[in-house]
Symmetry: D2
Subunit: 366 residues, 4 copies
């Protein structure tokens, strides 16, 4: 993966800044003949859209996607279909609030990429973080929608990707309560209704205090066939690690038992296998569906840690571009827990990695 492109045969390239006229993505290598309408992509974008509750940024962006190329409709195609050529998707920025950015322009916000971008490029679009803003993830979600639709078309009805929040701050869900059916019933994509209630209180407290909270996102892909992954440097889990770590504010990634695996014995860790309906059936899934970098047919389980939003109201010590010590308070419309909106982004990255690997696999193995 290189610069602003990701993937090998199913590949996408994103562009755009937080406060530029638009942002977008070019999806290249998509299979031809796939039904694809703007509203199919919009459904995915709406999940990531800001402004949905008091727990996410109040910036109002409709995030309306336009398909500019790569799709064609005539009376033989039964609706717009992909042509196999690049699919260009664009989302216009609407609510770039006119405000004074002089503070960010000169002072580096701790925990943000400001100082790093200046060190690298010597210049930076400081409006809302420019290219380093999490608004870039809208483009990933749009690309991920195409990837997921392609996967559904290739892998069929058993295939699905689901994502949720399994930890907010130090508060983890109770795995005994886990229910995918409830994740849309609370503003956190939380699969544990009890935890969701508690989180509401915790996050409200943090929000009112001008503080912020971290979180852990879990992404699960089901119905993925065994055999995906390209050892040894294109391992499925290595690609997932890269994909998830590239998401804004991510600080850790794990597969299956993840860091907990370090604490298990060999007996506890290795998933035993039986036969069920004529196929291998694993008695547990500590591996997270990946062995030796290749999918086993079990659920692919990835998790990533999201740090607390660095934009907070508490004054923080920092320096400015002139090399002087100063303080900063980051006002603006920020997510008190950016991990929440990371949920659909994680799902998108899972789809994008899998689409690439499904296609890589059939390239080599037919």
């Amino acid at each position: 993966m290189s610069f602003n492109s990701f993937g090998r045969v199913f590949r996408f390239t994103t562009w755009g800044e937080s406060h530029g006229p638009a942002l977008g993505v070019v999806v290249d290598g998509c299979p031809p003949g796939l039904k694809l309408r703007e509203e199919d992509i919009q459904t995915f974008l709406d999940k990531r859209k800001p402004g949905g509750s008091k727990f996410v940024t109040q910036r109002k962006e409709p995030d309306r996607v336009k398909i500019l190329s790569g799709v064609f409709e005539d009376d033989r195609t039964d609706g717009p279909r992909t042509t196999g050529t690049p699919i260009s998707l664009m989302i216009e920025n609407v609510d770039q609030r006119s405000k004074d950015y002089s503070d960010i322009r000169d002072k580096y916000r701790p925990g943000h990429a400001d100082i790093a971008y200046d060190a690298k490029y010597g210049i930076r679009d400081y409006r809302g973080g420019g290219r380093s803003s999490a608004r870039e993830t809208a483009a990933r979600v749009a690309a991920g929608a195409v990837a997921e639709l392609a996967l559904q078309s290739i892998l069929g009805a058993d295939f699905s990707i689901r994502a949720c929040l399994v930890q907010m701050g130090e508060h983890k869900i109770d795995r005994g309560n886990f229910d995918w059916g409830v994740i849309e019933d609370n503003p956190f994509w939380c699969p544990d209704p009890e935890a969701a209630k508690a989180w509401e209180t915790h996050l409200d407290t943090a929000r009112k205090a001008g503080s912020s909270m971290g979180a852990v996102v879990e992404v699960v892909a089901s119905g993925v066939p065994a055999g995906l992954g390209a050892p040894v440097y294109g391992k499925l889990d290595a690609d997932l690690a890269s994909a998830m770590m590239s998401i804004n504010a991510a600080k850790g990634v794990e597969i299956g038992a993840g860091f907990e695996a370090a604490q298990l014995s060999g007996e506890e860790n290795a998933d035993e296998i039986r036969i069920k309906n004529g196929s291998p059936h694993y008695l547990s899934n500590r591996a997270g569906g990946v062995l030796g970098g290749i999918s086993t047919g079990q659920d692919i389980v990835a998790r990533f840690a999201v740090k607390p939003t660095s934009s907070i109201l508490t004054p923080r010590r920092t320096v400015n571009a002139q090399g002087e010590e100063t303080e900063i308070v980051t006002r603006g419309r920020h997510d008190p827990c950016v991990g929440i909106r990371g949920v659909p982004v994680g799902a998108a990255m899972m789809a994008l990695v899998l689409a690439d690997h499904v296609m890589l696999h059939r390239a080599q193995c037919g």
Copy 2:
């Protein structure tokens, strides 16, 4: 990264199986004029070499590296120097013990890649795990040696990469005891002498019981300039995540505070900045030296979780290639804690990622 190659401008490709005649690596894109002798690489390989203590596999492999190309010496070059052309390194396998592999040939070892490779390729070199064996990491370490020497040459004396084991099983080191100076004084690369003693007992117990333990490896790069990293899909931390997760038995990767960051408040997490000696000086390093995917000049800190060795003496339920249920006991010469030998491998991957990014950065930014 793709198949068996890693990197963009400093790139390497590994090949070879556990029980084939040899394994090796081709390093491409190395800067010319770098002093490079076989013994310079050998020093790194000797750290990873099997057979060093009772806590690692008893397979006796000298892991003697040969340079087959890419280096030239005449009376003007003051010893062998890289020419900028591909550096081919080969390590012959010596101690492929002649044994009966019929058990592995037919039965899938739980926790191993056997079943996944068969699902993908329909054929597999089952001798010692074939391509999925951790012997492949010898090739990475050889490539990593070249990368580290190139980095030392470019970045100078302040640059270093160090790695250690910070957790074995559930036993973490005491950070108060941390001392890089002692890691070679114990067989675990442990920076806490107290912990090292305790681990000896724990691991001996596990080993004698025919069991195994997991571990967590920490890798730290110092003296890395600010500005490395290629947002947004070639972020320095995303590449480190891919690099570390590609190591055999790795199940999780984190940068800086990592998963703990999810539990911190915004105030605790974002590293404040002051000026020291005219340069930005951070009051903490929760970021692990990376903001927005770009290095900040702080130490780069990466950690990865290694699962317990899956080759254990306890009988485990599994299936065979004929689709029948059976049991397996994995005899052979295995590491009771494969994380130990993962330490120099993690250091090598850090060097390889950084070498690529140092060169990518000067490509774009001069």
Copy 3:
């Protein structure tokens, strides 16, 4: 190069069809701090713009470029400057004449990509050739403008890229008349005023007969330092060959003496070297500025053959999508000699290859 992307560290990705709403390009990896305004790019596009004379298509496209990202201006930057992040450029299609495409929809135009796209994808945007249309080259020219500006900034005033038409049909220029100063004085970018006059007659005759003519384009880069090129599969001339051959209607590429080199003796072919002003000075340039895939400091000279436009008024035998034999006449607004508009496209591809190699070279060699 892969699918719709070209380049390694200076890379671009194009998208769009002849009759879609727009087409565009994302340029990634551009050095930061480069002055870049829309009008700087427009200058290059205007050279390729259709509708300039009776010898090119009468389609009226203003080809007005918009910069959507990657450039930032504030009071410190002295005009818009590149930020090192992706530069998204868009050109809206304006004059997609509403016409009946049913002929092209069902019948394959000989010499066109219609039948090949259908064989590959099973679907195709047939309006004006869709993705296979030479309108895609507008995106290359826009990207090439950025590349050329980057090269001028890095290589300085001695650097230039010039392109011209050296042959139309069987009529070659007289090299004795070669004058770069006159190429904008005729509608053919012809450096030989005598030839230009003759071509006018030849092409007018062909045009009125509903026929078309082929051509040969020559592209020359001067002021390119010695040392660019990445042997052995990223050779400068191999990349130029790929770049030029990817241009619509190109059927051959040559460097320096090219195919004529096959007829020379070793004595005639190898350029002898003397010293001039303290530097190597070549007594001829049969090599076209490239030896062993690496630039020598001489002018880089590339040439490509463009086949005659396949859209002609003469009825041609063909088949349709139903597998039946039929005939076709291609009406519409076509270039009688598409090689003319290939001139600025060739120059753009030269700039794009060189920008990538300048950056690749400093990646490896500092």
Copy 4:
């Protein structure tokens, strides 16, 4: 393609110098289950082997290939089969004649890469040209053998690649005499027995005069299905152009009618289509089997021009590394017409490009 690697999903990386201990190639992404023995590859290498007649270099290299990885045999596999993991192939250098290289060390041979390598890297293995030597092509031919076997396995018996010499110096074959059956009956891979006789005289004259001759190689792939190629920067013909131009001494590449297409009218050039046996049947093949960068099902026809060997006995003016003017005579065992041995190399590159595209196509289009 980048540095010393070529291909995307069927990829290979070569290494080694003319006078190092060995040279080799790592083939990555090969389909699993393919029968592959050393002798299968050796057959291809033997065609390129030096020392076969007085018309090629008298260096005696057995070019014996060893398979070091990626192939496995047990009693179930019916001979060695590829496992889908990297295939490492090595050829040891045997006849590196001990000679005094001080002349080449200090003086730059006109027409050779000496001066360019020094300009780029500041160091170079000057023995026999080092990395820039055409001995590198042995590695390509070995990789090409694997590619061709993979293609035969996927495409079946109708698929073939053939190559020949169609021009030596200014002497072209008579197309009326073209007969693939005779190319092994003369030392030139010449398909025209009459021309072969004349060439013998011409080349003998040149050889005795210490001079050399250029040539044109033609490569034809038959039985290639329609639909291969990845527009617009991974076009099949663009990849072939890059592949052929990367061969030592190549100065031009053309597809189908090539440069002659520039002289044709639109009517003459565009291949008309009829139906034969229910499939499209072209009445000519000026396109060389490629339209819009995609194969049409016709024969793929590529041609490349090879310059005369630059190592000649005539004294040539040149400069040395100290920047002084001098003269050089290149003694040694050189090919009087290096194009002859380019014939199997061209065939190998065709196979390598097609293998990549067959696999890329099934990645995207299933």
